[in-house]
């Protein structure tokens, strides 16, 4: 395992989006002594299979799983992620948007306590130029979460994605969040005064299989519905 390496992992079916996402990645500042790699999975049978294939193919300690329609705006995101992982060795996973509780209905954004930020058309505060984006780990800090949105997930531990239950493109983030917590790793969401990412998903989900996997999630992790991240961590293996 190369602990001075980041690997971006993207499952893709749209070359235009992928190229644009990579364009933003190519403009990130790389911390001294570190290197970056990119694995684009083009023929995955499912998100979890694609992510597992790339995870197993990469020797990078730090992996950033992201959607093809995510554009990273915070050019310092790599050093900022390092500062979060190094702030607490129990942190295994970082997301940009997260929730401190598992929602009762299984839909993570229905949970009450939400954290993080993402580029919006109508923000509460006008965003500055990207050159003015700065994160100060000591003062800005981060929150712990029970679930994080899968549009961007950074990890410093490799845990297999759940291919047994998930055969499509939904709920992999909810399942993986619980898996990390049950393995004793905390999930962090940085406080972002300005959003670190734009997620250009057309503001709608493809709901084709979403409800099916919501029920699967509720069946598999029913005991955690409505529970806080600390309650799940407390029974970690």
């Amino acid at each position: 395992m190369n602990d001075h390496k980041f690997c971006f992992i993207i499952c893709t079916n749209n070359s235009l989006l992928l190229e644009e996402a990579v364009h933003y990645i190519n403009h990130l500042y790389i911390p001294d002594g570190y290197e970056i790699d990119l694995l684009a999975v083009t023929d995955a049978a499912s998100m979890t299979e694609g992510y597992n294939e790339a995870m197993n193919a990469s020797d990078a300690k730090y992996k950033i799983y992201m959607h093809q329609d995510v554009f990273i705006l915070n050019k310092n995101i790599l050093s900022d992620l390092l500062s979060i992982f190094q702030a607490n060795s129990q942190i295994g996973m970082v997301g940009m948007v997260g929730y401190d509780t598992v929602s009762a209905d299984g839909i993570m954004w229905h949970a009450p306590g939400n954290y993080g930020n993402v580029y919006q058309k109508k923000p509460a505060v006008i965003y500055p130029a990207l050159s003015e984006y700065h994160y100060f780990p000591e003062t800005d800090g981060f929150h712990f979460a029970a679930q994080i949105d899968g549009f961007l997930i950074a990890t410093c531990r490799d845990l297999p994605w759940d291919t047994a239950h998930l055969k499509d493109w939904d709920f992999y983030d909810a399942f993986q969040s619980i898996r990390f917590l049950q393995s004793g790793y905390k999930i962090a969401v940085p406080v972002q005064r300005h959003p670190w990412c734009m997620h250009d998903d057309g503001q709608f989900l493809n709901m084709e299989k979403y409800d099916y996997y919501r029920h699967v999630f509720r069946d598999v992790y029913g005991e955690w519905l409505g529970k806080n991240y600390s309650e799940i961590l407390s029974v970690a293996e």
């Binding site: 989006l17 929602s103 923000p123 050159s131 057309g202 919501r214």
Partner: protein
Amino acid sequence: MRNLTSETEAYFEQLNRDRAATQTASLFIADRLREALGKQDIPLLLSLIPYIETGEGELLCKYIGETHRLLRILYIIRLEQKYHMNLFCTGCPDQKALMDKYLLTLFALRRLLFRLSQSSMEEATLFLQQNQLSVFAVHIITQEDLILPDDALYEKIQELHAHCWSDEEARLFASLIEHR
């Protein structure tokens, strides 16, 4: 307190009830786009606006995000046609080409806004010079899509289009962005 679980179940039950009609509408729009763009039949193309806004295509706005972008493109073309400008769909023989052009245009505008690097700006500039946009295309995309235009972006766009927009168009654009 709302009963979230009941609301969620109700939403997905409605989604299931709407599924067949949504698929039918989606196929209709794809067929109409194929025919209209293939023949560059603009009235046929624009007939999709009422279909999506108030007809059977309304469901697509509820469930499929890309429909909003398609509708935006149709609004742009309707205005361009009304004011006898070059149409956004010119050179787009099918739906994929049309949506790709829209995406690439949006990407170029964002690159100008975010100023990632000199080369990023130059690539965006080149794209916009090669695909001259109408004042309506710029205005609708920057006002409606996921981009927060600032004064510097609009100045850059005006500069880029100085040679292709007439004085009247330039004045129209200035007026549109003044009232944003």
